[in-house]
């Protein structure tokens, strides 16, 4: 690799890192403003124009606060947990293509840090490592509420990761690729969200649980657990948890956009020198839209009870994921085997199997459904 290649590489790393930090800053501001709007409040107004610098002010405040380590804490683990929360959150973004390939110094540079051939698996791996931060922080604090919060959310995140992987499996089967850039280029005609709508829904619900956002924010259920796993953290270490959580949210939204909403694809009237900007703007727009939906859900739905959360994950989402993987298989294989086309035998069989899958889902739901005497037990 020549010096220019290295420069481009380092430049991309810096841009992604800084971009994520800035996007988190704007995202937290947006979240506070949107929630405030929904509650007919004004939200932050004082720091910067319309309060846009509020996150910066918060960060500076946290930076200068005293970091207290509890006497009972397991020091090394306690120190390292915030880093484990933050690093995978950033790393997961490495495989997300945030724009069309561009020409720099006569080279084609993909706007993506690393186009791994196991891109989707990398995402799953990084989100799994993020779970360690929660359980280690909860355990090493040497305190009861963090321990409870940590245990709770570990179980939650592991459970919902299963359903999330199933949604991803369906997408991988449908696209035939694990590589993120291939998944994006395969969505040229139709975005995956249309043929894979159940998977999209499944992924969105699991993403909420995976990044501990309401209504699945049991990890830090303020009313029950003080602040959950990061109760004992203060100052800069708490800031790292906070940052990691929001980077995770932005990342998971970016992944949802890449896998289901066609990534950076869109329409762009301009050509020439500014042509590279179009895809990036489309990507940002789509991520913002998904983030908005997440904020809307936060503003609407109350937190779920723990047993119902587990019920929902294991008894509904995972079966739905399994059946949808089955249906996707039918869609892919049957038209090939028995002839496709609008009224081909294979197409009819595929549609029939999808309907059959949902009928079976209904039966399973009834068999597993909560009985009357169990309600509010």
């Amino acid at each position: 690799m020549s010096a220019i290649d290295w420069t481009i590489m380092v430049g991309k790393v810096v841009i992604v890192f800084a971009g994520l930090l800035i996007s988190v800053m704007l995202y937290i501001w947006m979240e506070r403003k949107v929630i405030a709007d929904m509650q007919t409040r004004a939200g932050p107004m004082r720091a910067g124009p319309r309060g846009v610098l509020i996150t910066l002010a918060d960060g500076i405040k946290l930076f200068f606060k005293e970091g207290i380590t509890p006497t009972n804490a397991d020091r090394p683990v306690y120190q390292i947990a915030p880093a484990i929360a933050m690093i995978p959150a950033f790393l997961a973004f490495a495989v997300v293509p945030f724009g069309a390939p561009v020409y720099i110094f006569g080279r084609i540079v993909p706007l993506q840090l690393a186009d791994l051939d196991i891109g989707v698996l990398w995402v799953l791996a990084m989100t799994s490592i993020g779970v360690y931060a929660v359980v280690l922080a909860g355990w090493s604090s040497g305190s009861n509420y963090p321990l409870l919060g940590g245990v709770r959310s570990t179980a939650q995140m592991i459970s919902y990761e299963v359903a999330m992987s199933l949604a991803l499996v369906a997408v991988i089967m449908f696209s035939g690729h694990l590589r993120m850039s291939e998944i994006v280029s395969q969505q040229g005609r139709v975005w995956n969200v249309i043929p894979q709508f159940p998977a999209f829904l499944l992924f969105l619900i699991c993403a909420l649980a995976e990044v501990n956002r309401p209504p699945f924010d049991l990890a830090e259920a303020e009313t029950e657990l003080v602040a959950g796993f990061h109760t004992e953290y203060s100052g800069i270490k708490f800031a790292l948890f906070y940052l990691g959580e929001y980077v995770n949210t932005v990342t998971i939204c970016a992944i949802a956009v890449t896998l289901f909403l066609g990534g950076w694809r869109g329409w762009w009237p301009f050509d020439g020198a500014w042509a590279w900007l179009g895809p990036v703007l489309w990507f940002v727009l789509k991520v913002t839209a998904i983030v908005y939906v997440m904020i809307l859900i936060r503003g609407t739905l109350p937190r779920m009870r723990y047993d119902r959360l587990m019920n929902f994950g294991w008894k509904y989402l995972i079966p739905l994921g399994l059946f949808w993987v089955l249906a996707t298989g039918a869609i892919i294989v049957l038209p090939d085997r028995y002839g496709g086309g609008f009224l081909g035998r294979g197409t009819i069989m595929a549609l029939g199997s999808i309907i059959a899958v949902f009928l079976v889902m209904g039966l399973v739901k009834q068999a597993l459904g909560t009985r009357k005497d169990e309600v509010d037990a």
């Binding site: 709007d37 007919t40 409040r41 004004a42 809307l296 609407t300």
Partner: protein, 169 residues
């Protein structure tokens, strides 16, 4: 199969979770477009209604300039927070401070103690003590929080002129 409770009241009919969630999201989304009620307080000061008795006290005078307060100390007795100090004195018949026999030689209200309940105003037999709507009462020392008789006799300064409140602008 279905043993759901049935009712003719459409409001109480059970809804499916998906419908409930969708409706809830739509309701919250609609709220976004309502104007918010927040006042940007130190930047813009909204005048309180004319008879909003939400602020500090004032000692009133008769039209001829005599003080209404007769130094009876009923306000101090009524005060649940023990915030009022009154010291009465006989009027000099040649140069009376108030109509009647007695007047308040000293009158102090400690606003670190005062809970703005208004019981003193209810107790006052001569309407000498009333509440104003001057709510800007931020202090930088304990001494500043004790208002003397001279301060209480003055009308409160207009809203927005308080030095401490100005700092936040």
């Amino acid at each position: 199969m279905s043993d759901e409770p049935t009712t003719s009241d459409p409001e109480r009919r059970p809804v499916t979770p998906w419908w409930a969630i969708t409706k809830g999201l739509a309701t919250v989304f609609k709220q976004t477009f309502r104007r918010d009620n927040t006042e940007q307080y130190p930047k813009e000061i909204v005048e309180p209604p004319p008879r909003a008795h939400t602020g500090r006290h004032r000692l009133n005078r008769h039209e001829n300039g005599l003080e209404k307060c007769i130094g009876c100390e009923l306000c101090a007795y009524a005060c649940p927070a023990d915030a009022i100090w009154v010291e009465g004195e006989d009027n000099d018949p040649a140069d009376p401070v108030s109509p009647g026999e007695r007047h308040a030689k000293d009158y102090q209200i400690n606003y670190l103690r005062c809970i703005m309940c208004g019981l003193c105003v209810e107790a006052c037999p001569t309407r000498a003590l009333t509440l104003t709507s001057s709510y800007e009462m931020a202090f930088t020392s304990r001494e500043d929080a004790i208002f003397t008789k001279e301060q209480l006799l003055e009308p409160p300064p207009p809203l927005g002129t308080d030095a401490v409140a100005k700092e936040g602008r």
